[in-house]
């Protein structure tokens, strides 16, 4: 179990992540709202997503490609939390955004 979790974290952690190509988004000081327009091409009705708090911070960082470790460092700096405590949360969040089609993984 622990081994599987570690493999998943490694998998996400080794890539560089960036916003997917076909998105519409509004970015404010403390909130981003995002719509995956690519879904329309696939005949699906896209749902808008609202990112606030640290989710907004992570989203803002990933405007340019970054690795998980870089994201963790910035979020830790902003929140004052320990980076090692944050890594799992950041990995899960990035996985979720990737699953929703909002993030792309670069080699």
């Amino acid at each position: 179990m622990e081994e599987r979790r570690s493999s998943r974290v490694d998998d996400v952690a080794t890539g560089r992540w960036v916003h997917a190509d076909d998105l519409a988004q509004t970015c404010g000081a403390d909130r981003s709202s995002v719509l995956d327009l690519g879904q329309i091409k696939r005949g699906m009705s896209p749902s808008p997503y609202v990112l606030e708090g640290s989710g907004h911070t992570i989203w803002s960082i990933l405007r340019a490609p970054h690795q998980v470790s870089e994201v963790v460092r910035v979020v830790a700096g902003e929140t004052g939390l320990d980076g090692s405590d944050l890594e799992d949360t950041v990995v899960s969040f990035i996985e979720e955004l990737h699953h929703l089609g909002l993030l792309s993984r670069l080699p």
């Binding site: 519409a24 709202s33 997503y49």
Partner: protein
């Protein structure tokens, strides 16, 4: 990260991009107008919009509505009230979105044939950036005309007067010669020579000569009637006098007594008791009587114009 928390200020720009992409995907020609577009061109002061205004080419209109329905958008129910100007747009709503999409078929104040009007503006379209996506819109002067006509239709509304003043102040000293010529070209091509009169006058631009055919004159009278006297009494009277002469008394009588079903459709806000209904009917007749002198004055003026060649 939940869709139900989407604030209106974010929903409106995102819905613009959605409506644009649906049009593109279904080969429908659309132009985005008013709110976000006017702000992008700095022709309107910033304020929170509650809807998306998109103008579909008349020959794509039904197909575009069908396409949007496939993505969960549906028509908002309309009250069966009489109208002076034809219904110019269809309002769509969606369970996941806090904003509406208003799909326009025509634009009030542009009195030329709707297809010719749209085609002209489409031929001069530009891309405007909304939520990081380029969406098709009227060019800047086309957007200025749309913004001016929207305000001029209801100048009794304070916000419209303020937006009209802002538009005039923005353009008055900054228009290039090419932009002035473009405004005249749009006014002529879209049948807005007269409806835009107060706007062109403020910009010290000589309006083009309006058409004189009967269809245009009829639309111009409708516009003037609606602009001068937009209240239910005026709408009922205008709707009645469009009918054959012998049907007018019955139509006016219907407006006065308002049969039960129609009353409830037009006044869903009234408590469903007989007492509340009679009180509401009494107030309605009172408002109608108070508005009648103004309506008669506009009707007389419209009749006199008809007798003197239509303008």
């Amino acid at each position: 990260m939940r869709e139900r928390r989407l604030p209106l200020s974010d929903a409106v720009p995102l819905a613009h991009t959605l409506a644009s992409r649906v049009a593109e995907q279904h080969d429908c020609r659309v132009l985005f107008i008013k709110g976000s577009v006017a702000e992008a061109y700095r022709l309107r002061p910033h304020r929170l919009s509650s809807d998306v205004d998109v103008w579909a080419s008349p020959d794509d209109f039904e197909r575009y509505l069908t396409a949007l329905r496939r993505f969960g958008w549906r028509e908002r129910e309309l009250r069966p009230a009489p109208r002076i100007l034809e219904l110019h747009s269809t309002t769509l709503i969606h369970d996941s979105w806090p904003c509406d999409i208003d799909v326009h078929r025509v634009f009030p104040g542009m009195l030329a044939e709707p297809q010719d009007t749209f085609d002209h503006l489409w031929d001069h379209r530009s891309g405007v950036d909304v939520a990081g996506v380029s969406i098709p819109a009227c060019d800047r002067m086309g957007t200025a005309v749309v913004t001016a006509l929207h305000a001029l239709r209801d100048m009794h509304v304070e916000r419209n007067r303020a937006e009209f003043a802002y538009l005039v102040d923005t353009l008055r000293d900054s228009l290039t010669r090419a932009e002035r010529e473009r405004l005249v070209e749009i006014a002529s091509a879209t049948g807005a020579a007269q409806t835009l009169g107060p706007f062109l006058e403020r910009l010290r631009i000589q309006p083009p000569e309006p058409p004189s055919d009967a269809a245009y004159v009829h639309r111009w009278h409708d516009w003037e009637w609606r602009r001068q006297n937009n209240n239910p009494t005026s709408r009922w009277v205008r709707e009645a006098i469009r009918r054959p002469f012998y049907k007018v008394p019955a139509r006016l009588w219907r407006a006065v007594v308002l049969p039960g079903d129609l009353f409830w459709q037009l006044h869903p806000e009234v408590e469903p008791t007989r007492r509340a209904m009679w009180i509401a009917r009494g107030r309605r007749l009172g408002r109608g009587a108070a508005a009648l002198p103004g309506v008669v004055s506009v009707a007389w003026s419209s009749y006199r114009d008809d007798q003197h060649g239509g303008r």
